[in-house]
């Protein structure tokens, strides 16, 4: 929107923008060069740092919740504190971690590179969104000091109108975070529409970019509804405006409708980026063009559209007309179509491919397996008669953890391992990464398979105490959480260790045909030394030259450039 006035004459290095041909990590130095950067790669890294910390915090709350449930009755904390723990676990994981994780961290870093752009369309708005995110984090976490929220991350009325006042700081925090999410989505939409390099047509866009595009659509269209919902909730608490309060003539179920009108699409804000990463991983490590490229791309858009039509399935037992529940149930089943398209196409891509079992590929395999379980159990819940039995049980908890954790987080870890060499210029230790993977995979299933069983037998979610017959399942689940945490720490250690011990990464360590591997490692400040002109698709292994699959583009030019510097 606004124009930055660059001096017509004068060096850019002098005004703090650095040499466009220098490695983005070294182009400029000092704290200000990071805090005030408009480079999408640095902003991506800053986001990555923040979401990793949020993941750690949310993970600690998860471990505390599981530890409390290890034995019946009180194990470590009382019931009230337990309520706060699971609320904080949910709110931190959803709003601080998963929603910004893939788009704001990996998307910020790779979306412009993958379309051959020098930056996102609005670099300063990109930086602004990061600081708004930080503000949101502070406001949200200030609720802990003010007495912590115990409503669960869904803030259902009327309870959220009666419990402690810290609900306001948490909802305002989420409101602010939503604004940050909107700005990221807006930026990506405009970037994809207007910044593609010559030759990157819509049908040559990497599937990661398609996924980010679909995600951005949801972020832009759904988040404002959450904003107004939370604003109304805050207004309700401050002034009692009465929209959700039956005493004052309002309707508490309306809150649930509003909330899920955002939060169901938000599920696709979380999972579509995971699928987007997975498409890249499967193609690269199968050395094959993705099967049914166009169908996979369109299935992301399909999920974005269907995501807006199914919010009612969270309210089957909250009081809706039978006709409405039937419609929502039918629409919910439609979601299986684009999800199925993706799973089948990934599998078909691997058929007769030259599969390489690198650590990111293990995560990609785990994604297909775990997401299939998560998706199929979603069909159980979409079935009206079954849902009445399973609503608010551990079955639901296990279902969405299979999608969110087994889907998005697994893909996020796979994507991190896959792109780590490009982002940092260092190779991680594959052996440690694989050990970490097996801990994560085994631990994750140990946590949540018992929860499916408990849930189907009637163990309600969010309960502090439980009947004796559920004890073995809870014990297994808690032990699983320790295995999972071990795996995550091993993976985090592997990634961090690479920073100081890893060998220098080549340009294209995985031999991918994707555009992002064609540039320097780590990328130069302007992403490419010259604006690339694309003549093949990102998965066209049959068209990519052997040089491209080993050293990427303009190696010669880059070599010349290095020499010149020497």
């Amino acid at each position: 929107m606004a124009a930055v006035e660059f001096p017509v004459a004068g060096g850019h290095a002098a005004d703090g923008h650095g040499d466009p041909d220098a490695n983005y990590l070294q182009a400029t130095h000092g704290f200000r060069s990071w805090a005030l950067t408009v480079d999408h790669k640095r902003i991506g890294l800053m986001y990555l740092t923040m979401v990793s910390i949020a993941f750690l915090v949310g993970g600690i709350f998860a471990l505390l919740v599981r530890l409390e449930l290890f034995t019946r009755g009180k194990t470590i904390v009382d019931g009230e504190t337990y309520n706060r723990f699971f609320t904080l676990h949910g709110a931190v994981m959803v709003f601080l971690f998963i929603i910004p994780s893939v788009p704001a961290a990996l998307g910020n870093f790779f979306l412009p590179i993958m379309i051959g752009a020098r930056d996102v369309a609005f670099p300063r708005i990109n930086l602004l969104s990061f600081y708004i995110y930080l503000c949101g984090v502070c406001i949200l976490l200030s609720s802990i000091i003010m007495g912590a929220v115990d409503t669960g991350w869904t803030f259902y009325t009327p309870y959220s109108l009666q419990t402690s006042n810290s609900v306001i700081s948490m909802t305002l925090g989420v409101f602010v975070l939503g604004f940050s999410s909107i700005l990221t989505g807006l930026n990506f939409l405009v970037t994809v529409h207007t910044m593609r390099a010559p030759g990157i047509t819509w049908t040559r866009m990497p599937l990661f970019v398609w996924g980010m595009y679909a995600t951005s659509l949801i972020q832009v269209l759904a988040t404002p509804v959450l904003a107004i919902t939370l604003l109304l909730l805050a207004g309700e608490r401050f002034f009692g405006i009465g929209i959700f309060d039956p005493k004052l003539g309002g309707d508490p179920v309306l809150f649930q409708h509003f909330f899920w009108f955002y939060s169901h699409p938000a599920v696709y804000i979380m999972i579509v980026p995971g699928m987007a990463i997975n498409s890249e991983l499967i193609a690269t490590f199968s050395r094959r063009a993705i099967f049914g490229y166009f169908a996979v791309a369109m299935s992301s858009i399909g999920l974005a559209i269907l995501g807006f039509l199914v919010w009612g399935h969270h309210l089957f037992v909250a009081g809706m007309s039978e006709f409405a529940t039937m419609m929502f149930s039918a629409l919910t089943f439609l979601v299986a179509i684009p999800s199925g398209v993706k799973v089948f196409n990934w599998t078909a891509t691997m058929y007769k491919g030259s599969i390489v079992w690198a650590s990111p590929m293990l995560y990609a395999m785990a994604f297909i397996f775990l997401f299939s379980i998560g998706g199929l159990t979603g069909l159980f819940l979409g079935t009206l008669s079954v849902d009445v039995h399973l609503t608010d049980t551990y079955f639901v908890v296990a279902h969405f953890h299979y999608v969110m954790m087994g889907g998005t987080v697994i893909a996020f870890l796979g994507g991190l391992l896959y792109w780590w060499p490009k982002m940092t210029g260092r190779m991680h230790d594959e052996k440690k990464a694989k050990i970490g993977f097996w801990f994560v995979f085994v631990g994750f299933n140990t946590v949540f398979i018992p929860q499916f069983i408990m849930g189907s037998r009637g163990m309600p979610r969010r309960y502090y105490d439980y009947l004796p017959q559920f004890e073995p399942f809870h014990k297994a689940s808690t032990i699983g959480s320790w295995i999972l945490a071990t795996g995550l720490f091993i993976t985090a250690f592997t990634l961090l260790e690479a920073l100081w011990k890893g060998r220098k990464a080549p340009r294209n360590p995985w031999g991918s045909a994707g555009y992002e591997w064609m540039t320097d490692t780590p990328p130069c400040l302007a992403n490419f030394h010259s604006t690339p002109v694309i003549t093949r698709g990102p998965y066209d292994y049959h068209l990519a030259t052997p040089e491209e699959l080993s050293t990427g583009w303009d190696e010669v030019e880059a070599g010349a450039h290095t020499k010149k510097k020497d």
């Binding site: 466009p20 020098r118 930056d119 405009v190 910044m195 832009v220 405006i241 604006t531 010149k564």
Partner: protein, 271 residues
């Protein structure tokens, strides 16, 4: 810089070749057209988010009105149709002047652009002044949202013995009149009784018009910023993006009001 330019010579290097670039073109865009298209699309997407945010309120309005149609009908008589209509005219006119500002910026008439922007801003001020009178009258009568509804001492200002206007709730035996009911003179001079649940109408009224008023303020800040840049001579027929986008945002502010006015002020049975 000198040797960097040298190394760029002859190759299609990334766009930092300052000589070829107009002053307003940001470093990551290739052409002014690309920059303009990006900015314009960005503003449209942002407007879409605004519409969805107000959409939540319109949806709440539809549902609450469906629950209590009679209360909405009774309560809307307390909104001043003359003031509402004047504000509609003021905003429509300001949209016209905003559009004219864009046109004069396109053809490079700087002073005329400033003139139109100032007129637009004055209209915005007029809107807020009228809104202030409306709000203060509601405060005076105790027609406030939620718990504040029927603030004591305010309805006492009504003289006793005045004719009570048509209000179905007074006649309905199922709904006895309690001290919480608000008795006040509506905008057509009738004394009218409103049940406590009428707070939901005023809750919506204040939230919807309040959020809209906030957008008027945001729009005014944007237009003021554009005006300052225009006076400093930053715009030309080749670059007038901020004027265009500022006006576009102002049209959104206008458009939301176009829907608020009939929904709150006019929808109801004629007396």
């Amino acid at each position: 810089m000198a040797n960097v330019s040298e190394s760029m010579a002859g190759t299609e290097r990334v766009g930092h070749d300052a000589h070829a670039h107009p002053e307003f073109l940001q470093h990551h865009f290739d052409t002014p057209t690309q920059q303009f298209n990006a900015s314009k699309l960005g503003m449209w997407v942002f407007i879409a988010t605004e519409i969805l945010m107000f959409g939540g309120l319109f949806c709440a309005y539809a549902i609450e009105r469906g629950l209590e149609p009679q209360i909405f009908d009774d309560a809307h008589h307390f909104l001043n149709k003359i003031m509402g209509a004047s504000n509609t005219v003021v905003l429509l006119f300001s949209s016209l002047t905003a559009a004219l500002a864009v046109r004069s910026a396109q053809v490079g008439k700087r002073n005329l652009t400033s003139f139109y922007l100032v007129v637009t801003l004055l209209c915005a001020c007029a809107f807020l002044v009228i809104k202030y009178f409306e709000y203060s009258h509601k405060f005076h009568l105790g027609l406030l949202p939620g718990h504040c509804f029927g603030h004591p001492g305010l309805s006492a200002a009504i003289q006793d013995g005045q004719e009570v206007g048509t209000c179905l709730h007074v006649n309905a035996e199922a709904a006895p009149v309690t001290p919480e009911w608000v008795k006040a003179v509506d905008e057509s001079g009738h004394v009218r009784l409103l049940p406590p649940r009428a707070n939901m109408f005023f809750g919506l009224y204040f939230v919807m018009t309040g959020l809209h008023g906030l957008h008027v303020l945001i729009g005014m800040s944007i237009l003021t910023w554009v005006l300052v840049k225009n006076i400093r001579g930053k715009f030309s027929p080749a670059y007038f993006t901020p004027v265009d986008l500022g006006a576009l945002y102002w049209h959104l502010v206008d458009l939301v009001w176009i829907y608020l006015f009939p929904l709150l002020y006019l929808v109801g049975k004629p007396e």
